[in-house]
Assembly symmetry: C2
C-alpha cells in the first residue's frame, strides 16, 4: 500500500446525493479521493453499460478540495471512465461505491448500480466496497454509517497486500450505540414480490409502474438479512463468477447430445 | 410437465431482431409460446430495472399465431411484466431468452440483458435459458443454432421435474456439421480491455463512446471460452448467489471489529 492510496468514489444515487457526501468525507481521511459519479439517480441500473450512445463527462466542484467528475452514464460507465480515461495509467487502490440510500442485501446486489460499480472495479483487480444504509429516504442519517465505514477502512488499510475483494457492506438504520458489531456472511435467499401499478395517462393510454415488497425466504443466521435484522453490519464477500458449480454434474447428460444426429 | 408447456420468450436485441424469430420458431414446436420483448435494442442493459419511469406494454402482431407483446422497458422489466401482469396466475414452465446476436460467454453474463432476463425468470423458479450465437451481425445465420436449440429443448423436456436451472448457452458461429457437440462448463475468467473513443460533437463539446476488446485470461479446458474456441456449444449452469464463499474465512477479522470502541 502506498503512503497515500488512490481512492475512486462513485455511487448510483447521483453526485449530489447525501450518501456520497458522507462517503467522500470518510474516504478523504485515508487517501487521495477522486469522485466520478452519475449526474442523475441511477438506482436499479444493475450492470448496465452505455454502448449505443455517447457519454458526457464533466469536471465539477461539488466536494471542496476533491477532484470530481459527473457523468451522463450508468454507475458501471463511471468506473470504466475512471480506469480508462480520468485515472488511466494510475493504480487505483480502492473503489468505494455509495453510501447507497437503501439496502443492497440479498439479491438486491443484482439490481444495484452501487454494487455493479464496485463489481466493475473489482474486475480490474481493485479492492472494492459497495456500502449501503438501510434507509431509502433523501434525509437519511449517515452518522453511524460514517463511524462504521471508518472502522472498516482502518481494518482494510492494515490488511496490506490483501487480495482485491469485492465487499457488499450493508448497515442497519439504527444509532451507532445500537449496532452490535460486524458479521461476514453469505447472501440470503430472498425475492421481490412485485406488483405493477396500472394506470391511465392523460391520453387514456395504460402504463405500468414497478412496485413491490421484498420477502426473505432464508432465516439462517449466517445470512446478511439475519445480521441486519439483528442490528449487525453485514459484509458479504461477493464475486463475478456466476457458475453454479453444484449443478455441473447434474447436467452432464448434455455432453452426450449428438447435435446433428 | 404439462402436455403443452407454457414458454415465455424474450430477448435484449428487441422484438424484431432475427434472433428472437429463430427462437420463437423452435419454441413453438414444444409448447404454447408467449413473447414479451423490448421494443428497441437493449444490449448491455445487464440486470437494469425501470423504477423511476412508467413502462408501456403493447400487444403486437409479429409472429403468426403467437401471442406477442412489446415493452418499453428493459429485458428484466419484460420478465417482471410477464410474471406479474400478462401471465399472472399461470405457471410458466420455461423462459427462453435470445437468440442473442453475439457472445454471452465468460463475464459477458454480467452485462447481458439476455442473460439477466433469464436470471430474473429463474428467480421465480422457472427453468430458464439464455441462448447466444457468436455473431454480432444483424444478418447472422441462425440455422445451426436452431438445430442445437431443438436438441437441447428435447433433452430438457424429458428431464421432467428437474430443478429450475439457469443455463447460459453459447453457440459457436460455424455450420452445424462443424459443431463438435455440447459441453457443460464453468464461466471463464476474462475481461474487456476498454478504450473510449473521444470525439467532439457539432458544438465542440467532448463526448466518449465505449469500445474495447475481450481478453481471455483463462485457457483451461473446463471453461466456456475453451469449448467455444473448439467449436463446442457451451452450457454454463449459472445462479444468482454472488457470495464468494472461499473468501469468508479470510475476512473473519471483520467480526472482531468494535464499531463504537
Amino acid at each position: 500500500m502506498k503512503e497515500k492510496p488512490l481512492i475512486l468514489v462513485t455511487n448510483d444515487d447521483g453526485i449530489v446525493a447525501p450518501g456520497i457526501r458522507a462517503l467522500v468525507e470518510i474516504a478523504a481521511k485515508f487517501g487521495e479521493v477522486v469522485v466520478i459519479a452519475p449526474d442523475s439517480p441511477q438506482s436499479g441500473q444493475g450492470h448496465a453499460v452505455t454502448i449505443m450512445d455517447p457519454i458526457r463527462l464533466n469536471k465539477v466542484s461539488v466536494f471542496p478540495g476533491i477532484e470530481s467528475w459527473e457523468c451522463t452514464g450508468t454507475p458501471v460507465d463511471c468506473v470504466k471512465l475512471a480506469t480508462n480515461v480520468v485515472l488511466k495509467g494510475r493504480k487505483i487502490d480502492f473503489c468505494l461505491s455509495g453510501i447507497n440510500h437503501g439496502s443492497n442485501a440479498s439479491i438486491n446486489i443484482l439490481y444495484s448500480g452501487t454494487m455493479s460499480a464496485a463489481m466493475e472495479a473489482s474486475l480490474e483487480g481493485i479492492m472494492s466496497l459497495g456500502i449501503s444504509l438501510l434507509d431509502y429516504s433523501q434525509n437519511a442519517d449517515f452518522s453511524a454509517s460514517k463511524i462504521v465505514l471508518e472502522k472498516i477502512l482502518q481494518k482494510l488499510m492494515v490488511s496490506n497486500g490483501s487480495k482485491p475483494y469485492l465487499l457488499n457492506v450493508n448497515i442497519p438504520n439504527v444509532p451507532i450505540d445500537q449496532i452490535r458489531g460486524i458479521k461476514t456472511c453469505r447472501q440470503a435467499q430472498g425475492n421481490w414480490e412485485e406488483e405493477f401499478m396500472e394506470a391511465k395517462d392523460p391520453r387514456n393510454q395504460t402504463y405500468y409502474w414497478l412496485t413491490g415488497k421484498f420477502v426473505n425466504y432464508d432465516k439462517e443466521e449466517d445470512t446478511d438479512l439475519w445480521a441486519l435484522e439483528n442490528n449487525f453490519v453485514s459484509i458479504v464477500p461477493s464475486h463475478h463468477d456466476l457458475t453454479n458449480y453444484s449443478a455441473l454434474s447434474s447436467l452432464s447428460y448434455f455432453n452426450e447430445v449428438d447435435v446433428y444426429g
